[in-house]
Symmetry: C2
Subunit: 358 residues, 2 copies
Amino acid sequence: MTTLTPAAPSKNFASTRERVEACLNTFLTRKTADARTDGLAPQMPAVLQGFIASGGKRLRPLLCVAGWQAAGGRGIPESVIRTAAALEMYQAFALIHDDVIDNSAIRRSQPAVHEALARQFANSPDPRHLGVSAAILIGDMALTWSHELFMTADVPADRRAIVATIVDAMREEMHHGQYLDLLSVLQPLEDERTPLTVIRYKTAKYTVERPLQIGAALTGAGPDLLAGLSRFALPLGDAFQLRDDLLGIFGDPALTGKPVLGDLQEGKHTVLMALAARRANPGQRDILERRLGDSALDDDGAAEIIEVIRATGADAEVESMIAARYAEALAVLDSEAFPPDATATLIRIARAAVERDS
Amino acid sequence: MTTLTPAAPSKNFASTRERVEACLNTFLTRKTADARTDGLAPQMPAVLQGFIASGGKRLRPLLCVAGWQAAGGRGIPESVIRTAAALEMYQAFALIHDDVIDNSAIRRSQPAVHEALARQFANSPDPRHLGVSAAILIGDMALTWSHELFMTADVPADRRAIVATIVDAMREEMHHGQYLDLLSVLQPLEDERTPLTVIRYKTAKYTVERPLQIGAALTGAGPDLLAGLSRFALPLGDAFQLRDDLLGIFGDPALTGKPVLGDLQEGKHTVLMALAARRANPGQRDILERRLGDSALDDDGAAEIIEVIRATGADAEVESMIAARYAEALAVLDSEAFPPDATATLIRIARAAVERDS
């Protein structure tokens, strides 16, 4: 597992991660035992347990706890840990379906769930289809169990109702973001509005804003506090995803766990690519049109695309977009009256989200 | 849309269906408008709206209302209709993912959602994959919106908590049933335990027991009443699915909306097939092994399988299993003290579930 960032080690973060992981392990161990007892497939919870143990920054759980603290929550009660664990279970659902949709064979430096299952079913008539189908169902189950974790956290009914409303909004926003992302390949490459909307829905709202607000709602926080967290979260979340897009191309696969060729072969329409396309001269534009989305793209082809990105200055522009959004998020922390400890935590998380290499 | 059965027309059923459909239409029309306003894809709610309008017996909504009445609920308040609508939205999710998993091109005599979307994306580089991916996401969205409908029904918090627990159980059971169903092709054909467990989880619990209990829980019904409904629901649900398996082979595609070859080409391991395999002589067994699951199976091949089913008497045995379970369900109604009107409704539903041709 990668730490959030080597520059900001934290006993609190480590302890939150451990407690969230313990909660998920206990939950899934029980589900595995129940499945055995009932003559059902223990593989469903077991695959999920292995997937969750295989890595992840636990960013959403950490943000949930940070939201709780920003809203004045004291200590970190088990109800907050369980809600944070529900967010990590939700993320397992999202990644498993995402890898099916993106045809990604690798996740966290290991075979993606549908790929690992296909190998396990190698002797069946159509292992690939069986692997994909099993992964879709295991993803659906993760979503259902995420809901069970949310609903079984020991939270007063009125607060749970607010949490449930935010969770529903988060789910709807994420599906919408993913759908737009999926169809963005049908848009002109230089269209940057669609990837900006995708970033806003798929990452800023799903990964940052909603986990913070869910943590805050557990304290009974009102709309003003939730809105303040949102003002911090949205620019930070945009910056986080813009960093992710850069890492997808320029990052070290040993650290990101994702092959560099993946995003390029898939032909993902990112803000980075839109900027490169917009600034490209006809020759550069031709390279982008020909190479991007070529499933047989090799290292040489990738190098050509990367050269265009650098030559057009698209990477530098994305860096400056990240810096502007990072500054905007930090400025919100100046103007909001979150408790000093919580503010310090949010600053650490913001820095880790933006200045990272994995 | 098919009526539940021509033998049991009912103003009440028709009015419940209309109100559930109106609720779903209002909900999805608003989601479509919201998506437009927010620059998101109105296609997601629009596809769902079209899919729901394309047919379906609305069996789960009718059972939810019947459960409400069996528990003494008076009239049919909007909160019950909205909860019933949530069940129909959940079923949309289930069918859309199921058709992807089963590779079914046809649903309700029309192209399945992933198929219709693939045609719409015909000019993209990989229309089939795009269609499947979009269908997975639209299914996920239906699941999320089903949850939103459950949570926004105007129900007291304590009752909503019980409903939520039953809904979570229903979802978990259905995913487990589907997973077992998916992997049943890896089991020996004559194994009838797995298809019986699949039927129990994927149909009896999901389609009959849980909708009835959810309706009853809306009245604040206690565990005894929920258990009584379960005793009626499980044998009836088993019978319903056994009928479905027979209709899948012997039914009129014009009425079922599903091609006869579908189940056979897919090589579904049903109770019917297990019984045929178990009773088959070596020659008959050979036909089953060679033909079942052959994706290129034609009408002649199908006729050979059907001949084996008839010759072994597997179809007659399934008919007698249906009759026994139907009788068991009706006997429960004799011993439970549901209100007379509710009992009459449950009898009508039971009859329609078992004696149907679509």
